[in-house]
């Protein structure tokens, strides 16, 4: 892949650049998905670009960790709900 996009790059590679996020997010049509997947499979540079973007999305998803609300928050929520009329077990 060229250093800048102003340089000439093949049309198929440009399609990958413009639509890779849609592809990774499952937002493309079945036909477009098939075409992109087929090109990525045979183009080492687009494959590397895809791996780079997938790594980024995986890293972002990794920020989602199980996190429990502290007891102080649960106590506050339950107290305010009780004040508002909620009757729990």
């Amino acid at each position: 892949m060229p250093d800048t996009l102003s340089e000439v790059i093949p049309t198929e590679c440009m399609e990958v650049v413009l639509h890779l996020w849609d592809y990774l997010d499952d937002q493309l049509t079945a036909e477009a998905t098939t075409n992109l997947r087929a090109h990525i499979a045979v183009c080492p540079e687009c494959y590397a670009f895809q791996a780079f973007q997938r790594g980024f999305l995986d890293a972002l998803a990794g920020l989602r960790r199980p996190q429990r609300a502290p007891w102080r928050v649960k106590a506050r929520v339950l107290a305010s709900l009780a004040e508002a009329g909620l009757r729990t077990h």
Partner: protein, 193 residues
């Protein structure tokens, strides 16, 4: 106990941990998150009659939570929307080209970058950050995000793409400035090519 109270306790309250995590990611402040979570559940209880039984309660609570957050910041929704997703996608291609040239293709899989990824997300401005949190961190669909944010799906997409580009630019700059070791074999290979 009233039936509606039982339903609220059964369907809404179990999501308190998720709502807290979401509130914390929006506010970036524990004290503010506490307030937002309390207000979220209070509003949810008072408008429980608008909840459709059997629908996605977590999504419903996230929607309320984000609205509470926005009101707490007295931040009006932006009126100018982007329609330049191609520009952001193309710019991300340029970010990758630089990363590849400098030997940072594997930068996002490096454990030592994890704190920087979290910091970079915090620095992304609204409304792009909320789109990233909802779709990329909380793994919600474009449709769910559109419903939570009260915007068309195309707007979710444009906000998401802009947010991703901003994060990648920040992270690559950080990696280079902070002197993260590039994959030298890769750099040497490119220099000798």
């Amino acid at each position: 106990m009233k039936d509606q109270d039982a339903a609220f306790e059964r369907e809404a309250l179990p999501w308190i941990d998720d709502v807290y995590r979401f509130a914390l990611s929006l506010t970036r402040d524990e004290s503010d998150a506490d307030d937002v979570v309390q207000d979220t559940f209070l509003r949810a209880y008072r408008s429980w009659h608008t909840y459709l039984p059997g629908s996605d309660c977590r999504r419903w609570l996230f929607t309320i939570c984000r609205n509470v957050f926005l009101r707490s910041r007295e931040r009006a929704r932006p009126t100018v929307e982007l329609d330049a997703t191609d520009v952001d996608a193309a710019a991300a291609g340029s970010v990758y080209a630089i990363a590849a040239r400098e030997g940072y293709e594997d930068i996002f899989s490096r454990l030592d970058l994890v704190p920087a990824i979290s910091d970079a997300l915090d620095r992304v401005p609204e409304p792009f950050r909320s789109a990233l949190i909802i779709v990329d961190v909380e793994d919600q669909s474009y449709e769910s995000a559109a419903e939570m944010l009260g915007v068309p799906i195309g707007t979710v997409r444009s906000r998401l793409f802009r947010g991703r580009r901003l994060m990648q630019e920040q992270l690559l700059t950080y990696a280079i400035d902070a002197g993260f070791a590039p994959r030298m074999a890769c750099v040497e290979q490119r220099r000798n090519a």
